[in-house]
């Protein structure tokens, strides 16, 4: 295995932290993301990651940690989208777009002010594209708490969410509080996006949220299995991405790390395309179960 794991991979402190935080994030994003994909909220999930940029850069500006800004920004942004949006699909599209546009504008200003205040060089790069190898071990408890909160909320919402997603009429008839379920789900989504923003950066957190669930949903039937496959795919992509990024230091004579986020996203996209091929294979075999 020496060719795969370059020297020091297992004894490196920052790598341990990256593996733990990256792994937790990948699993939370994948589980929350299955519902994002099924409910057709990919745009909203992505918009939240740009709202994260505004929150994170704003927090840095006033001397707080980016994670607190990510969380606060996402919860606010999610609330704004819920408030502006309608059940009508194109209305929701515009509401998301308006929130996204305003948040991006704010991000532009905050990043500019961060850069000109001079104390935080490379901030824009760090917030946008992540920096998983420089995370402090001290944030692990916060990450764990957020992850538990998001997953707890998801578990609580599981039944009404599945009902509302797949048979909205029955949900209405049974008196499921649809707006409340939608809003609470948005809160879980906001926390998942905040988590992935800190690991692979705000611009790429969408990859962890949408990619593994979309691949899993093409391969499996039934929510339970889709959740499991999505979580495993996300976890695998993240850990492999961290490993490849670490190894890339030794690949070229220039001795530079290639970004983790690039590897994670590339693996996820390949997995998604492969899931399409695998499904074609399943369809060709007439006796395959679930290949309808």
């Amino acid at each position: 295995m020496g060719w795969l794991f370059e020297p020091g991979f297992f004894s490196n402190g920052p790598v341990h932290v990256a593996l733990v935080i990256g792994g937790v994030t990948a699993v939370v994003s994948a589980l929350v993301g299955v519902f994002t994909v099924v409910r057709g909220q990919s745009f909203g999930g992505h918009a939240l990651s740009d709202v994260s940029t505004a929150g994170g850069s704003g927090a840095l500006l006033i001397g707080l940690s980016p994670l607190s800004g990510f969380v606060a920004g996402d919860l606010l942004g999610g609330a704004a989208m819920e408030a502006l949006g309608t059940e009508h699909e194109r209305g929701r599209d515009v509401a998301t777009g308006i929130v996204l546009g305003a948040a991006t504008g704010l991000a532009a200003l905050f990043l500019y002010l961060d850069a000109t205040s001079g104390t935080t060089t490379g901030t824009a790069q760090q917030i946008l594209f992540g920096s998983i190898f420089v995370l402090q071990p001290s944030i692990i408890p916060v990450v764990a708490a957020l992850a538990c909160l998001a997953l707890g909320l998801l578990a609580l919402l599981y039944r009404p969410l599945v009902l509302h997603t797949f048979s909205p009429e029955i949900a209405h008839a049974r008196g499921v509080p649809v707006r409340l379920v939608g809003a609470l789900y948005m809160a879980a989504l906001a926390m998942a996006v905040a988590l992935s923003s800190i690991t692979i950066g705000t611009v790429l957190s969408t990859a962890l949220l949408i990619g593994p669930p979309a691949a899993a949903l093409r391969l499996t039937r039934g929510m339970g299995r889709a959740l499991l496959v999505a979580a495993l795919t996300g976890l695998g992509a993240t850990w492999l991405g961290i490993l490849l990024s670490y190894d890339s230091f030794y690949w070229s004579p220039s001795r530079r790390f290639l970004p983790v986020s690039f590897f994670v996203v590339a693996i996820i996209v390949v997995a998604y395309l492969a899931s399409g091929l695998a499904r074609l294979g399943l369809r060709r075999r007439p006796s395959a179960p679930g290949g309808a």
Binding site: V37, G40, Q41, S42, F43, G45, H46, D50, E89, R90, D93, V94, T96, G97, I98, V99, L100, G101, A102, A103, T104, G105, L106, A107, A108, L109, L111, Y112, A115, G122, A124, Q125, L128, F129, G201, V203, L204, T206, A207, I210, G211, A214, R218, R256, L258, P259, S261, F262, V264, V265, A266, I268, V269, Y272, G276
Partner: protein, 271 residues
């Protein structure tokens, strides 16, 4: 404010706003906000690539935005459109991040690509920008009826022989062209705000297509002119003003419609 180097900013800004107003009207009408957001972000990777390899930024922008448009259209035929859009978007962004990590000169340049720089347009770039703009408006003009029909009444359009697949590809390519010319001015992350806020406001204010398109162009011009002036005065990034003005115009339009409706209801109740 209107002399020397600022002249280019005003001219290119005016062209950008007209194109964003026209193309954005259909973006809002077709519910294609996510695609309109994804294509410019993909174009950002093209600009980063052009910087790395050392050829013209506009070529990189145009090439990558066309690739993004075709990728979204191709993947979207087999899967949910929003999932396809999200994946094309993150793939291109990741490539952009990779290209950036290989160049030594990012910093300010990246920032201006993402968030815009009013001084980023040179006199020699004005002509290609104007030509691209003309091409965009001409294509939208020639596709106006089928686009209108397929956006509002999908089934009727199909029955009349409008083929939705090729039309969708053509529309995404127009968004890509519009993107390539606008990114150097307002930035990859904010051209989108200009394509959503003013057109959505125009749609809220008028139900008649031609009036709404005209209104959309006027509002986009107001937003962008205001942004350029504010950026000049404050030295803050132009993208900030575009994003905030776009949302403010939409908010104002919604509010005025609501107030007008309440007023109408009240006078109706009085009589």
């Amino acid at each position: 404010m209107f002399s020397g180097f600022m002249a280019n900013a005003w001219v290119s800004g005016t062209i950008v706003a007209i194109v964003a107003g026209v193309v954005g009207f259909f973006v809002v009408l077709r519910g294609a906000a996510f695609q309109a957001h994804a294509i410019p972000n993909g174009a950002f990777a093209g600009a980063a690539f052009a910087t790395l390899v050392g050829f013209d930024t506009l070529v990189g922008l145009a090439g990558f935005s066309i690739v993004a448009a075709l990728g979204i259209a191709w993947l979207g035929r087999r899967a949910r459109a929003d999932v396809a859009t999200a994946l094309v978007l993150v793939l291109l962004l990741a490539l952009g991040g990779l290209f950036l990590s290989r160049t030594t000169e990012y910093g300010p340049q990246v920032f201006s690509l993402l968030f815009g720089e009013i001084l980023g347009v040179s006199t020699s770039e004005l002509l290609p920008v104007a030509l691209l703009a003309l091409a965009c408006v001409a294509v939208v003009g020639s596709l106006f009826r089928p686009l209108m029909l397929s956006s509002v009444l999908g089934e009727v359009a199909e029955a009349k022989g409008v083929r939705s697949g090729p039309l969708e590809v053509a529309f995404l390519l127009v968004v890509a062209l519009a993107t390539a010319m606008t990114v150097p001015v307002v930035g990859a992350m904010l051209i989108f705000a200009l394509m959503i806020g003013p057109p959505a406001a125009a749609r809220a204010l008028s139900a008649r297509p031609m009036v709404a398109v005209a209104l959309s162009v006027v509002l986009a011009l107001v937003a962008l002119w205001g942004s350029i002036a504010s950026a000049y005065l404050t030295d803050w990034p132009v993208g900030f003003f575009v994003g905030v003005f776009g949302a403010a115009i939409y908010g104002a339009a919604r509010a005025s419609v609501t107030i007008a409706r309440r007023g109408a209801a009240r006078s109706g109740a009085a009589t």
